[in-house]
């Protein structure tokens, strides 16, 4: 076992663990954000640079700090390593710059984007973005294209995380989905306008951190924060049949994989479950999904707030984050 200290939390992890995975084991605020890394996809990570952290001590054997910030998703833990994430102003400053880079060519069309409310870029810029913009030039634009009859690609919103490329490579048999061109005109595309028809292609929508790949059967139907996510299941011959059904009243608006607290699906699901089973009778509804306090889905479900006469520093708050989350979930589903 290797001992690693991240933002003053020490934890023992197995050999071969990355800094990001170790941080996720600790949990809470020390987890660096990850826009391109996806634990279920091999080779993913290292590209978006939002998870850069400072290694203040390389290992117990060689205590020198690493000269540059490192991508925590691809850097393995060494015994006695000391990592700084939110305790390093340099890391936060760099993260702010990375968010700015990611946003300069992003259309910022959240009001008409289906991903709004569950967008990782939205969350990231809420936490690390700057208020104004320093970018004044025209943003690069692409035409909206359909890749198959189920998925629509808005290249304008893409941050080139490569997650969908790895999904297509690793879940589907024929490789027809990849990156064309180079630099800031690089784009996600399919081989000579091929349709994506594989049974598991819909997972590209789930892994997309932004609104670049959207579910055509759900487009403009509803906003995610009006829907209630429920654990649902059915017996399926292709996948586990364990999904999240998004309900409004008695109607299922869409079906997605079950996402964990790091926005990664627990299991990939097949297209039949995702696109074709939209009746309540298709599914056994099991239980409500847990919603995190930070999620916009919890909007209008705040605790009965009191006006504080004195603004307390965060650490002096009487209600813990966990209790806060619980109460929101109780209220939401009561």
């Amino acid at each position: 076992m290797l001992k690693v200290t991240i933002d003053n939390h020490t934890i023992e992890v197995e050999e071969g663990t990355t800094i990001l995975q170790a941080a996720r084991l600790i949990g809470g605020a020390v987890v660096p954000p990850a826009m391109c890394y996806y634990s279920k996809l091999k080779e993913s990570g290292g590209k978006c640079r939002t998870c850069l952290v400072k290694v203040a001590q390389g290992s117990a054997r060689d205590p020198r700090p690493m000269p540059k910030l490192v991508a925590s998703c691809r850097t393995l833990v060494a015994d006695g390593m000391v990592v700084q994430n939110i305790t390093s102003p340099e890391v936060l400053d760099t993260r702010k710059a990375i968010v700015e880079f990611l946003l300069i060519n992003h259309p910022l069309d959240c009001p008409v984007c289906d991903q709004a409310g569950e967008c990782q870029l939205q969350d990231l810029s809420y936490d690390n973005g700057r208020e104004g913009t320093r970018f004044e030039e025209a943003k690069r634009t692409f035409k909206v294209v359909d890749i198959g009859d189920k998925i629509q690609l808005h290249m304008n919103r893409c941050i080139l995380c490569y997650r969908c490329v790895y999904t297509a490579n690793q879940l589907t048999d024929k490789r027809s989905h990849g990156i064309l061109y180079r630099g800031d005109v690089a784009e996600i595309s399919t081989y000579i306008q091929n349709d994506i028809t594989n049974d598991f292609s819909g997972n590209m929508i789930d892994v997309c951190p932004v609104g670049a790949l959207t579910d055509k059967s759900f487009r403009f139907k509803n906003r995610v924060w009006f829907l209630k996510p429920m654990n649902a299941s059915r017996s399926c011959s292709k996948c586990s049949g364990k999904v999240t059904a998004w309900l409004r009243g008695e109607e299922i608006y869409r079906v997605t994989g079950r996402k964990d607290q790091f926005d990664e699906v627990e299991e990939f699901i097949c297209n039949e479950c995702r696109f074709d089973k939209k009746e309540l009778t298709d599914w056994t509804i099991e239980s409500p999904r847990n919603i995190q306090r930070a999620s916009v889905i919890s909007q209008n479900h705040y605790l009965k707030a009191k006006n504080p006469s004195v603004i307390l520093p965060l650490e002096n708050r009487t209600v813990s984050m966990e209790d806060f989350d619980k109460e929101i979930n109780n209220e939401l589903y009561s």
């Binding site: 990375i98 990611l102 970018f135 080139l160 630099g183």
Partner: protein, 445 residues
């Protein structure tokens, strides 16, 4: 008397052919290595020579070789990086065009030292005619038993293949080069693991520059200590410098490391001074990626010492008042050159060549080009200059490969040393009558 290692026999007619090259002592090192030396002894000689990578980073070649994973049972590869695409650098082209056998000879010795049975030469796509020259040289080497099975009667086998790039600067980065050689998109890999452990086809691989490999023959023949007697301090040997810009004698020169910059710039044997009797304004000393230095700092260090053509002397003062020897692309600007326009030109290049894999480089290079374009065309504001500094500082060090740094350094250094010129461009863009070096109208026919 100037001493040369690489271009000693340049003027011998027909040196490009095997017979003439052999008659000047060519391929002797291969015989010596295969018959009298073990691979480890060759590595030791290279270590002792102090030879540093000539591709730009200046990493000691012997040390790079010693990192190769000798425990794994996988085949090992040597790749010659001939993807010379750095603006201002054209030394490898010259060497391959004039004396291709020097490279082949060096590669055979190097492959033997590393225990590699396959070598690749990855040639820049634009160097189409070089590929023919190299293939001809390789064919001759096969014909004379220096390549192929049981070389010179030993039990050592080696094949060398020439592979053409497709016109991407990024494929000069060693891991992108390996990806490209494997037939994939030329995106740099995330390191570690380094190629010495996981390289081409997942096997231990060493990637060396053309000029680095061309030096190996001499080291094997004369020993590392003899090589180390050339040059100065830790900058051993000679270096090919490709000089261009506003000078009287542009071209490729082999200099012994330790020559003063002033002598290189003004001696008629080398650059021969600034063209048309103009004043020197600035120099990019090691290819477009390294920081630009104004006339006073390129000739003398900030401490007042004479600036020499060595890795150490050029780097003296860090990036505040120093630069790098880099790949040896020596670009000279005279007093009429417009720094803003030239910086924009470089930013445009890096924007075009960014692979687009990681966000700071993909977005930042385009942004810098846009802002510089705005300033150059008279729409700039004072705060744009600080914006550029800010963008450059956020790209630098935060990217997967060094292309991000290479894009940021020229912009940051141009503003560091020529801020007044940027400010002048913002205030009075119409007054700038200066021009861009290298543009066709500046070249006298």
């Amino acid at each position: 008397m100037e001493r040369k290692i690489l271009l000693k026999h340049l003027d011998v007619p027909g040196i490009r052919t095997f017979g003439v090259f052999r008659s000047t002592g060519g391929y002797r090192s291969v015989e010596h290595a295969l018959k009298n030396m073990t691979p480890d002894e060759v590595v030791e000689e290279v270590k002792e020579s102090g030879l540093r990578g000539r591709g730009g980073a200046g990493f000691p070649a012997g040390m790079k070789w010693s990192f190769i994973d000798r425990k794994s049972n996988k085949p090992r590869y040597l790749i010659c990086n001939a993807d010379e695409s750095e603006p201002g650098t054209f030394k490898d082209r010259y060497l391959m065009e004039k004396i291709p056998h020097l490279l082949i000879e060096g590669m055979i010795c190097s492959c033997y030292a590393l225990g590699a049975n396959t070598g690749y030469i990855y040639v820049r796509g634009e160097y189409k005619y070089i590929i023919g020259i190299l293939n001809e040289a390789i064919r001759e080497a096969y014909d004379h038993g220096f390549l192929g099975k049981n070389i010179l009667g030993s039990n050592y086998n080696l094949d060398i293949h020439v592979h053409s790039g497709a016109g991407a600067y990024i494929c000069g980065e060693e891991t992108a080069l390996i990806e490209s050689l494997e037939g994939k998109r030329g995106n740099p890999r995330i390191k570690p693991p380094f190629p010495a452990v996981v390289g081409l086809y997942g096997c231990p691989t060493v990637v060396n520059n053309v000029e680095t490999l061309a030096n190996i023959g001499f080291i094997v023949n004369h020993g590392g200590s003899e090589f180390a007697r050339y040059g100065m301090g830790k900058s051993t040997g000679t270096k090919l410098i490709s000089a261009c810009g506003n000078i009287n004698n542009p071209g490729v020169y082999e200099i012994e490391l330790g020559l003063s910059v002033r002598e290189f710039l003004y001696d008629p044997k080398y650059c021969g001074g600034i063209k048309n009797g103009k004043e020197l304004k600035a120099v990019i000393a090691g290819g477009s990626s390294v920081p630009i230095l104004p006339a006073n700092l390129i000739l003398q260090t900030a401490a007042g010492a004479e600036r020499l053509m060595t890795y150490e002397s050029l780097a003296e003062g860090g990036f505040v008042s120093g630069t790098m020897l880099g790949s040896g692309g020596f670009i000279v600007y005279d007093e009429d050159a417009c720094i803003v326009r030239n910086t924009w030109n470089l930013a445009r290049f890096y924007h075009h060549e960014s692979c687009g894999q990681c966000s700071p480089c993909r977005e930042g290079t385009g942004w810098m080009e846009n802002v510089l374009h705005r300033i150059e065309n008279g729409h700039g504001r004072q705060k744009d200059i600080d914006l550029l500094v800010s963008i450059a500082s956020k790209i630098e060090g935060n990217t997967i490969c060094p292309l991000g740094d290479a894009a940021a350094w020229p912009v940051a250094s141009a503003i560091r040393h020529f801020r007044h010129e940027f400010e002048e461009h913002v205030l009075h863009p119409e007054r700038c009558g200066r021009n861009e070096i290298g543009k066709l109208e500046n070249v006298e026919s």
